[in-house]
């Protein structure tokens, strides 16, 4: 039972990052390697606020603001230019790899490659005891946040005018432009929302570990991709389900197989999903327009 809870706990973290990746993929068609650095920088932003004795909520908002700002810079300064030059998808991926390297290097330089303390005071870090099992309260909060984010994103995308604009741009940006939708704003908005969500995940991770470094979240990139592939690339609920699945797979492969094979088993799961259902659990089948 405790391992099941561990799986949910790890899965909720993966899910939140997975949603972040799914949003970028769904709209921008970019597999972003910069998401884990947005997590890290969001956490550093939060750390800065905490060092200035800001309340936890303010610190979380500060972290989100930092990640959103970085996302905006990336989109305006880089992605937008690539879009204007009609660059291929691979160019976007390479750019995100480069951005991730730069962000990591700057953080490494500023922290002298050391892990810095991340204050946990004010965060819900005490464990809950439910039916004799220890449930990390922070993971519960993260799970609730992830579910709320999924619902809010769903409502936004399906029920609001701006969400419809996002969907229209995701489907065909050129046509959306002809219909009067500012696709540039839509792309920027989605990337910033995605960055903000990554920041929340990064802050939760830092609070959980009580420390933060420029490489803290690097190992999660593969996990996030796995979550989005299993759930269905671009599907927000799929990313949540995929994240939870990856968490469970990681935990049970650690216990039943070996910690050394944890990532290998997760990748095997991706292979199985891709073979059996290439579009993922909730992904839509790709359609070709003629």
């Amino acid at each position: 039972m405790q391992q099941f809870i561990n799986g949910l706990s790890l899965g909720s973290s993966c899910a939140l990052l997975g949603v972040s990746v799914a949003l970028v993929w769904g709209v921008l068609r970019v597999l972003s390697f910069a998401q884990t650095q947005l997590m890290t920088w969001g956490a550093f932003g939060s750390l800065l606020a905490l060092r200035w004795d800001a309340p936890v909520l303010v610190a979380v908002l500060a972290g989100i603001a930092v990640a959103v700002a970085i996302s905006a810079v990336i989109d305006i300064a880089l992605f937008n230019r690539l879009r204007n030059q009609q660059a291929g998808e691979f160019a976007f991926v390479v750019v995100t790899i480069g951005v991730a390297q730069v962000l990591s290097s700057v953080a490494a330089m500023r922290t002298e490659n050391q892990a810095v303390s991340f204050p946990r005071q004010g965060f819900p870090v005490e464990p809950l005891t439910v039916f004799g099992q220890n449930v990390p309260r922070l993971s519960v909060v993260m799970m609730v946040f992830t579910l709320v984010a999924m619902v809010v994103l769903g409502y936004w995308l399906q029920r609001t005018r701006s969400g419809m604009a996002v969907r229209a741009v995701a489907f065909d940006a050129e046509t959306a432009e002809l219909l009067g939708i500012n696709s540039r704003r839509v792309f920027a908005t989605c990337f910033m929302v995605s960055g903000g969500m990554a920041a929340v995940a990064g802050i939760f991770f830092a609070a959980s570990a009580a420390q933060l470094s420029h490489t803290s979240n690097d190992s999660l990139l593969l996990v996030a991709f796995a979550a989005t592939v299993i759930g269905g690339l671009g599907s927000i609920p799929g990313a949540v389900i995929g994240g939870l699945a990856v968490g469970m797979i990681s935990v049970y492969s650690t216990v039943w197989v070996s910690p050394a094979f944890r990532e290998a088993v997760a990748m095997l799961a991706i292979l199985v999903v891709l073979v059996v259902r290439p579009q993922g659990i909730l992904g839509a089948k790709a359609t070709e327009r003629v």
Binding site: Q2, Q3, N6, L23, G26, R29, F44, G45, L47, A65, A69, I70, A72, V73, I76, R81, R83, N84, E89, A107, A108, T111, E112, N113, Q114, A115, V116, S117, N134, P136, M150, L157, Q158, R167, A168, A170, F171, D172, A173, E174, S183, F205, A209, A210, Q211, S213, T215, G232, G234, S235, I236, P237, S250, V251, T254, V255, P259, L282, G283, A284
Partner: protein, 437 residues
């Protein structure tokens, strides 16, 4: 139209041209300014002075001129044939994996403190020590490249290394070139076996920790043990079998073994398996950067078995882990509470130029540099064989780790001290003292 599944934003192929081309430079400038503000805040409050480190292959030098002698601690031998400059190669992992970098950075600070003191006291007369520091980035290949650079530059000695696997790959080059090498922070076995030019100040933890583990386990009446090992670090991975063998020889049954990698951030699955095993003691072979994670997540899961940890606990770790480390015991090769060797002098000297207390890495960096400098003085030359023989023949060198010599297998033979965390403080472990969590 847009895909039909709820909330999915995946859709058709990405469109080509999108939107205008004019960038809002003011927006970018404002956002960039905010990022700069954050980068300024990313660093620790107690930012040390600029490091002399460079990446592998880009060695730089940092010389500390031997100043006027301020006392008569060790006047230089007038017959000495020491040159004006002794060049010391310093290969250390000062970047890369944050789990390892603190060891490299800590050693470097200790080495630099020793070099400064050697200069200030005129220990080597007019001879100055020049450090050729290379950041080996926690990478074996970078360590090999660094050592090849030292050989090419004909350095007179080497002090450093923070990762055993890096040393084992690079060390044979030093042996072949006949460069006297004082390893600083290598805790795994096999170091001095590389050859007769290689010496170690930091003990082979695998040779001394098992006996200490047995003592702690027996003090709590343990009959079963579980093991958690950081399997991608040679020091930790090499230590675990020796600890397990010693405890099993003492009749303490192994009930669970779990491993993790330095990049793992969630160890709950491993810790739950250990918890479910019902082990009386948990033996954690872990390095500095992972200590906080292990203790915090163990506490989160309600694990109350006695944890026998590993060296490398710093003030930051104690602060980060808080009461999660209460009652944890671990063997340290150096303890600030010790009055062995010249520890009191080291603490005082360190305190003169640092606001934070020293850690074990600082201590053995300082001790290793002094040991090598003493050998140069004894040898009176920089001839590799002469310095090697001087090191091997040293009778008693004062270091923060105690008065040491290298006459047995070129190993200083430091025995270490069992430390227990009580109410956030490190105290010398006393089996008669009850610790409550």
């Amino acid at each position: 139209m847009c895909p039909s599944e709820l909330c999915s934003v995946a859709a058709g192929p990405r469109a080509g041209r999108t939107g205008g081309t004019t960038l809002n430079r003011r927006v970018i400038a404002a956002l960039a300014a905010s990022l700069l503000l954050v980068t300024a805040a990313c660093s620790d409050d107690d930012e040390p002075e600029a490091s002399t480190s460079t990446t592998a292959g880009e060695a730089s030098t940092d010389s500390t001129a031997a100043g006027e002698s301020t006392d008569t601690t060790a006047a230089a031998d007038p017959e000495s044939a020491l040159p004006d400059v002794i060049t010391i190669g310093v290969p250390l992992d000062t970047s890369g994996n944050p789990a390892v970098a603190p060891a490299g950075l800590g050693q470097l600070a200790g080495i630099e403190l020793a070099v400064q003191e050697i200069a200030d006291t005129g220990f080597l007369g007019d001879t100055e020590i020049e450090l050729e520091t290379v950041d080996t980035q926690g990478d074996t290949q970078a360590a090999v490249e660094a050592v090849l650079g030292f050989v090419q530059d004909e350095v007179d000695g080497v002090v450093g290394f923070a990762l055993t696997q890096s040393f084992l790959a690079a060390g044979p080059e030093l042996q072949t070139a006949g460069i006297p090498t004082m390893t600083g922070g290598l805790a795994a076995p096999g170091v001095t076996e590389v050859g007769d030019f290689v010496f170690r100040l930091f003990p082979n933890i695998g040779a001394i920790a098992p006996a200490a583990d047995v003592e702690v386990a027996e003090s709590v009446g343990a009959t079963t043990a579980a093991y958690l090992t950081q399997s991608d670090v040679a020091t930790a991975a090499g230590l675990q079998p020796a600890r397990k063998a010693a405890l099993e020889a003492a009749g303490i049954e192994t009930v669970e073994e779990q491993t993790f990698a330095s990049t793992d951030t969630d160890l709950r699955a491993q810790l739950t398996a250990i918890q479910d095993s019902g082990a009386d003691v948990i033996v954690a072979s872990i390095v500095s950067g992972s200590q906080t994670l292990v203790y915090l997540q163990a506490q989160e899961l309600g694990i109350d078995a006695q944890i026998i940890g590993s060296a490398g606990v710093t003030g930051d770790i104690l602060s980060q882990a808080g009461d999660a480390m209460q009652c944890a015991v671990y063997l340290v090769p150096w303890a600030p509470q010790s009055d062995d060797g010249n520890n009191a002098h080291f603490l005082e000297l360190w305190g003169e130029s640092n606001d934070t207390p020293p850690n074990v890495f600082n201590a053995y960096g300082y001790g290793a540099m002094w040991a090598l400098a003493t050998a140069f003085q004894e040898a009176g030359s920089v001839d590799g064989a002469a310095v090697r023989d001087a090191l091997a023949g040293l009778d008693s060198v004062e270091t923060p780790l105690g008065d040491v010599n290298f006459q047995t297998d070129r190993d200083a033979g430091v025995q270490g001290t069992n430390i227990q965390v009580q109410d956030g403080e490190e105290v010398v472990w006393d089996p008669e003292t009850e610790c409550t969590r």
